[in-house]
């Protein structure tokens, strides 16, 4: 395993490459928190690999002084799976934008998750294509005006957390670019997790989709529109923490404590639940009808892909010697 070292700082993780995002882009904050977090883990730089695809977010590996590989559109989870198969001791991070992950990369993303490859996957979601200059993305909400949807997007968006849960991810969380403390906390939890850690980060694209997550970032509005999930605690929100979530049959509903509604009626968040059913339900909550959840949706322990491969290797017959494979089962010798 990686050997911890003492005292690294965020600047130890800065590469020489000039950072090139638009001024005001949410990616700056993500990069800076990520470097802080990496410095705090104590994993040596040479044991860390960042893998990405194409898009604004996918430039991130170039800016971090670890090993880095920027591949083609959407294929990062497959590339990263290869890196991990070659050297299971590396801490491998995958950085994907919503266009990259949810268009071309959806297959690779879901398969890396279902295999529980020990990857830390950051899906930086700004609900728009940035680098290609402002087209709708598979996560753009209905009505998003973009270069390819001037009258508002008509397509139903994908919800990355729902997809990750459906793909059997063992760690699923969501955070937001401006909440630096929350981001660090989630990065740390993802890094500690053994298996696929999936983190959706709401990120503001200053240029093409500015303010789309305002409800999650504005200090005043967010108290009523955001739920901070806490394991084992009732799901409460609002300035006075008197709004809550309860289940009415299979339907979630927002209630206010008092008037006959007590804490006993309120849904308790359990990130360790074996079945991700409730986590999925929480992933379906979308504003403005509902508050949206930040925090850890799911965090369960299952054997990693490598552990399963190693265990399978131990089963059955021991490997045959090379010479015996060369000769095959039906060789003959001529005098």
């Amino acid at each position: 395993m990686s050997i911890p070292v003492l005292a690294m700082t965020a600047s130890d993780f800065s590469s020489a490459q000039e950072v090139r995002w638009c001024p005001g882009c949410g990616d700056y904050s993500i990069l800076s928190q990520l470097k802080q977090a990496l410095a705090s883990f104590g994993v040596r730089r040479e044991n860390i690999v960042f893998v990405s695809g194409v898009g604004c977010a996918s430039r991130l590996p170039h800016y971090i002084n670890t090993f880095g590989f920027q591949g083609s559109y959407g294929r990062a989870p497959a590339l990263a799976t290869g890196v991990k198969l070659a050297n299971p001791n590396l801490q491998v991070w995958v950085v994907m934008g919503d266009g990259d992950a949810c268009s071309a990369g959806l297959t690779h993303l879901t398969h890396a998750l279902r295999r529980n490859v020990d990857l830390k996957i950051l899906l930086i979601n700004n609900e728009v294509f940035g680098l290609s200059r402002g087209q709708q993305s598979p996560t753009s909400r209905v009505g998003t005006c973009s270069k390819t949807s001037p009258d508002g997007s008509v397509e139903t968006p994908l919800r990355p957390v729902s997809i990750a849960l459906a793909a059997e991810a063992t760690f699923v969380a969501r955070t937001v670019d401006v909440d630096v403390n929350h981001m660090s906390e989630i990065f740390e939890k993802a890094a500690m997790h053994r298996g696929s850690g999936f983190v959706e980060i709401y990120q503001n694209c200053k240029i093409f989709n500015d303010g789309v997550f305002e409800y999650a970032t504005d200090a005043v509005i967010k108290t009523d529109s955001i739920i901070h999930l806490e394991h084992g605690r009732p799901i409460l929100f609002g300035k006075d923490r008197n709004h809550a979530l309860r289940l009415n049959g299979f339907e979630p509903e927002v209630v206010t404590l008092g008037q006959g509604i007590t804490m006993d009626d309120i849904l308790i968040h359990d990130e360790r639940a074996a079945e991700p059913t409730l986590a999925f339900l929480l992933s379906r909550l979308v504003g403005p009808q509902f508050p949206e959840c930040l925090g850890v949706f799911r965090n369960v322990r299952k054997p990693t892909h490598q552990q399963l491969l190693d265990a399978a290797f131990q089963q059955g017959d021991p490997p045959r010697a090379f010479e015996s494979l060369l000769a095959g089962d039906e060789s003959w010798t001529l005098a």
């Binding site: 083609s72 290869g82 050297n87 590396l90 690779h108 001529l334």
Partner: protein
């Protein structure tokens, strides 16, 4: 009891001495459950164990579970055996064993005019003809008069042979293939003992089956003796050299080659393969062989497979993948990425008849131009071609050697035919295998890593994660020379494009000289690549035996082409390029050397016959 079954009584019936032949071609054909694969394999071993050169090819049914007796269910196995070196499974059949009317209909066109036709007459009943589309008994057809037909009631005779053994009906039917085997062994005077041994070892838990199979075999053998004079022949000449041999098909040879390369380089290997026939054969083999130093994964698609192999190469392993058909086009994307990031991965591309799904079970060579040019941007990669089933072993090692010493993706072209064709192979001793020197960079505090600096081959350092001081970023963006930083500088881009091209071209300087078979200059040179090398070589040999001034070469290095190739080409009046495509190597040779080569093209999903190439050479030479 089993002790007595190991010999066969030689008959006293006069049937003449066997006719000596230099070579023969036999095809066994019937339903999948007629055991033709088993019969063919046993027959092949019987030939190889006496030292004949052998080459075989199966022809699997078009449908996996076709109804019994249907044309779509016809399965065949062909064996060419000779007292001299051979390089194809043979053109025309000397014996066709057709176990049902559909098999007859499918293959009768391939029987040589002097050939023998053996049929199971019990299967030539109206119901069965109908399945093959005959309206009358084909055995009565005048068209068959040209051949010597042996109509044997195989089902009946087999039942009688095993009647004394207590078997269930399916077991009785299964013995039929050994009746066929006994009959065929007699026709070519093959020694039955190894097959008796095989029966004993295979059914060692069931003495009843040992006895039944042996009886069926003997019944077939003895029945053959009664069929009349002049039927028996023999290919007596020994061709194989001394030592340990095995039968090997193209897929197994490739897989063993990669295993050997991993062992000889000391590198771990990651094999990623999406299941798509016939490339999936490699996936099956690596899974079955499970080795300590090989991680095998079945990814979600061919792009994932290539990316996993490439990620593994970045991580410090040999990254290997294989695919076929449309998967080849998909992997182009990843090969371009591997070329610009300069990482060592190997992609085995099994060509089958296209475009798109084309004819999935048929062979072709129409992906050469794609391997050469089929990526975005200026993007040369190394392209090698497997030229015979056993050649896969050498080619896989060569692919890995070039990938890890030149830091480049390597495409290995092979085809459907080569994957399943088999030949006898002299098993190398593991101690005589070449070493593969892979040098992964060590950190040097005195000299910080320049990830895109160059060695004497123009290769960049292989700087793998886990080693302190080697941290660097790479990927699909253009690199600044030496530093590898992302660069949009126009002059740098042009220089890097030229450098990557030179790196590949430079490989040609160190290749061994081309092997020219035949005269070193003269009338005709046949240039072959891939699976066509076999038929080409045999055709050229025939021409030379007939006194014609014909030479041939087989290319295994296609990109870069060998440095001495142009000199060789210019020594002949005509250059003939036979290919299973519409003229792809021809196009490259014309473009590279401004040489007016002659194309011989076949795009039928079938390999060349030796006679087709020979005829073309004779046509080129004109009337003598």
């Amino acid at each position: 009891m089993p002790g007595t079954t190991l010999t066969i009584a030689r008959s006293t019936i006069p049937h003449g001495t066997p006719v000596e032949r230099a070579a023969a071609v036999v095809r066994f054909a019937g339903d999948a459950n007629d055991g033709v694969l088993l019969v063919g394999t046993q027959f092949t071993y019987a030939c190889a164990m006496v030292g004949n050169a052998v080459m075989t090819v199966p022809d699997p049914a078009a449908e996996i579970r076709a109804p019994a007796g249907a044309l779509a269910g016809v399965t065949a196995f062909q064996c060419h055996f000779a007292g001299h070196a051979i390089h194809t499974p043979g053109d025309r059949l000397d014996l066709l064993v057709a176990l049902n009317p559909s098999a007859l209909r499918t293959y009768i066109g391939d029987l040589s005019p002097a050939g023998l036709l053996l049929v199971d007459s019990d299967r030539f009943v109206p119901d069965e003809w109908a399945k093959a589309g005959y309206v009358a008994d084909p055995l009565q057809d005048a068209a068959l008069q040209a051949f010597r037909v042996l109509a044997v009631p195989i089902r009946q005779l087999n039942r009688e042979a095993v009647a004394r053994v207590n078997l269930i009906p399916t077991e009785i039917e299964r013995c039929k293939s050994f009746f066929v085997l006994g009959l065929s062994y007699w026709l070519f005077d093959r020694p039955p003992e190894p097959t008796f041994r095989w029966i004993r070892e295979t059914y060692n838990k069931n003495p009843g089956l040992v006895e039944a199979h042996t009886r069926a075999f003997k019944a077939g053998w003895h029945h053959a003796e009664t069929l009349g004079p002049g039927l028996q022949s023999r290919v007596g000449q020994r061709c194989l050299k001394s030592g340990k041999h095995r039968m090997i098909n193209g897929a197994t040879a490739l897989a063993l080659g990669f295993l050997a390369a991993a062992r000889q380089s000391g590198l771990p290997m990651v094999y990623a393969g999406f299941p798509v026939a016939p490339a999936s054969e490699l996936l099956h083999l690596f899974t079955e062989w499970k080795q300590e130093n090989i991680q095998v994964i079945q990814p979600e698609d061919d792009l994932a497979a290539a990316n996993i192999a490439l990620g593994a190469a970045f991580g410090g392993s040999l990254g290997v993948t294989a695919t076929t058909s449309t998967g080849i086009a998909l992997q182009a994307d990843t090969l371009a990425l591997a070329a610009i990031s300069e990482l060592p991965m190997v992609a085995v591309h099994v060509q089958r008849a296209g475009p798109s799904l084309g004819m999935p079970t048929r062979t072709e060579q129409a992906d050469l131009l794609q391997a050469f040019y089929g990526r975005n941007g200026e993007c040369p990669v190394v392209v090698l071609a497997q030229s015979s089933p056993s050649d896969g072993f050498r080619i896989a090692i060569e692919a890995v050697r070039l990938a890890v010493t030149r830091m480049t993706p390597v495409v290995v072209l092979t085809d459907t035919y080569l994957m399943s064709a088999s030949e006898a192979w002299h098993v190398p001793s593991s101690s005589e295998l070449p070493m593969v020197l892979a040098k992964q960079t060590k950190a040097d505090p005195e000299h910080p890593l320049l990830p895109y600096s160059r060695d004497e081959h123009l290769a960049r350092p292989w700087a793998i994660p886990g080693r302190a001081g080697l941290e660097h970023r790479t990927g699909g963006m253009e690199k600044e020379a030496n530093t590898g930083a992302v660069s949009y500088d126009p002059a740098n881009h042009e220089a890097m494009v030229a450098l990557r091209a030179r790196k590949i071209a430079k490989i040609a300087e160190k290749l061994p000289p081309l092997v020219v078979h035949g005269p070193k200059s003269g009338d005709v040179l046949i240039v072959a690549w891939g699976s066509v090398c076999g038929a080409t070589h045999d055709a050229a040999e025939r021409c030379r035996a007939a006194g014609l001034n014909v030479a041939n070469i087989g290319l295994t290095h296609l990109s870069p082409l060998p440095a001495d190739l142009v000199g060789v080409l210019r020594k002949y009046r005509r250059v003939l390029v036979p290919e299973l495509n519409a003229g792809q190597l021809s196009k490259i040779l014309r473009a590279e050397y401004l040489l007016d080569v002659v194309s011989l093209n076949k795009v039928q999903g079938q390999p060349f016959l030796v006679s087709e190439i020979e005829a073309k050479v004779r046509q080129l030479l004109g009337p003598c």
